[in-house]
């Protein structure tokens, strides 16, 4: 007969039905001969039943399922409505852009403004997003675990221009790092990347350029930018499953990039305290457009 003390570490796991196959036979052989260990297995099983009753005793509140289904339907309708608005606004915006382009054509009288911006494609953003955010490429600036405020100050010192570092914790995203790499020359672009704490496999990258860029093949929409702020114009474009939402302020451009739906990205951008970011710009001696 095997020793009880050899068997004891395995009894609770055996009681759960989780013991490795090679250990099961010797434990069962021992149990066939040992009343004390059989009793112990029964007690572990009784303890689990007890825990099960404690969990199972909570009845579902009346109407919860209905309330939940209603919220899911509302969410679904809102998403559809936003998409329609998106498309509608995009078409209207396209007409405006056409007129603007005509005005800026040589001889049109305003070419300098349009030519000043650098063209960047959604794929340029997506490339960095896939490499740095999703594949966890090495960060050029280690700001993991810093608050948004501390990371902003740290990166501003390192870069010489102030990047937008948003606090996305209310959405369940934590700051993972920052990297200054971008496939387009003539623009300095820092991007901070965030990871979802809930699902761990969702990422958001927030880009800050030191000058204005123009998103190629984009459509336009309007959305809020921070609580209580007026709506602003956003440019949106897609590269594969990656969506890019870009906006401009003070001769600079900013962009959010993620695999989330465009309307979710718009919602995320709406929660960024961008007004505060702009208010605090003068605090950085070297200015934003070095």
């Amino acid at each position: 007969m095997t020793n009880c003390s050899d068997m004891r570490p395995h009894l609770a796991v055996y009681a759960d039905g989780e013991l490795a196959a090679e250990l099961r036979a010797p434990v069962e052989a021992h149990l066939a001969e040992c009343q004390k260990c059989r009793t112990e297995v029964e007690r572990w099983q009784a303890l689990r039943r007890c825990a099960q009753r404690a969990v199972a005793s909570e009845a579902l509140p009346a109407g919860l399922e209905q309330r939940l289904r209603q919220r899911l339907h509302t969410q679904s309708r809102t998403a559809r409505r936003r998409l329609f608005t998106f498309v509608g606004t995009g078409l209207a915006a396209a007409a405006v852009i056409m007129v603007a382009l005509l005005l800026y054509l040589p001889g049109g009288g305003g070419g300098a403004v349009a030519l000043a911006a650098i063209d960047v494609s959604a794929e340029d953003f997506a490339q960095i997003y896939r490499k740095c955010a999703m594949a966890g490429h090495r960060d050029s600036h280690n700001c993991r675990g810093m608050s948004a405020q501390d990371a902003t100050e740290f990166l501003a010192r390192e870069l010489g221009f102030k990047p937008l570092v948003a606090d996305l914790s209310a959405h369940g995203y934590v700051l993972e790092g920052a990297c200054e790499c971008f496939p387009v020359r003539d623009v300095r672009m820092i991007h901070v990347r965030y990871r979802s704490q809930d699902t761990q496999d969702q990422f958001v990258s927030l880009f800050s350029a030191n000058r204005r860029i123009r998103l190629k093949a984009c459509s336009r929409c309007r959305g809020k930018c921070g609580h209580g702020q007026a709506e602003r114009s956003y440019e949106v474009a897609q590269a594969g499953q990656v969506n890019v939402l870009k906006w401009d302020a003070q001769r600079r451009s900013f962009a959010l990039c993620s695999q989330m739906e465009q309307e979710e990205l718009l919602e995320l951008a709406g929660s960024v305290d961008f007004a505060r970011f702009l208010r605090e710009l003068p605090a950085y001696a070297r200015g934003p457009d070095r």
Binding site: R8, L11, A46, R48, L64, R69, Q75, T199
Partner: protein, 187 residues
């Protein structure tokens, strides 16, 4: 609604509502807070559903994973000060032997009569240990699924489970001894 393999999110996820609520209810200790947590979990899952792949274990562990992380995020957001009981339980757990070392057998008492006490003991556990014990207590997920939900190795699950069970049996034993529910010979 987004669909996966011809099934909508609602069709796949709502059947697990009862299980998700039960775990949430014991995590939150308050009915309203639990309902909020469940609704937030489902809305997050709904938004992320297009990126969810039906892996080996299906949608249930995924929902429980989102529930667990949402709960931890809420704790962090609210910056709740750790409860005195939590510290106490953690200290007790650090004093307890690790899995694989000498394991004390569960005390001889009638667990069937201690349901109320079990709930109280569960509530006193640190969230890290409470979650593992709750998932184990549902009898609907394996060690490997618990590991997947919590994002930790299976060895960590076994270790936490061991410590949580020890804390639970100790709490119940203390209660039973105080109320003279176990024979003096076994005290």
């Amino acid at each position: 609604m987004p669909a996966k393999a011809d099934k909508s999110f609602e069709e796949l996820a709502v059947p697990h509502l009862e299980l998700v609520y039960r775990v949430a209810r014991r995590l939150c200790r308050d009915e309203h807070e639990a309902e909020d947590l469940v609704q937030e979990t489902y809305l997050k899952a709904y938004k992320a559903f297009s990126r969810f792949e039906m892996r080996e274990f299906g949608i249930k562990p995924w929902l429980l994973k989102i529930l667990h992380n949402t709960f931890l995020n809420r704790l962090a957001r609210e910056r709740r000060a750790p409860r005195v009981a939590d510290h106490k339980t953690m200290e007790q757990m650090h004093e307890a032997p690790d899995a694989g070392s000498e394991i004390s057998e569960p005390p001889a008492l009638d667990y069937e009569k201690l349901d109320g006490e079990v709930k109280r003991a569960l509530d006193d556990l640190h969230p890290e240990f409470r979650t593992v014990l709750l998932l184990w207590g549902t009898m609907e997920v394996s060690y490997q699924e618990i590991a997947d939900i919590l994002g930790v190795p299976i060895g960590t699950v076994m270790s936490r489970l061991h410590r949580a069970r020890q804390a639970l049996t100790r709490a119940l034993h203390d209660y039973a001894r105080e109320h003279r529910l176990i024979p003096a010979s076994e005290q």
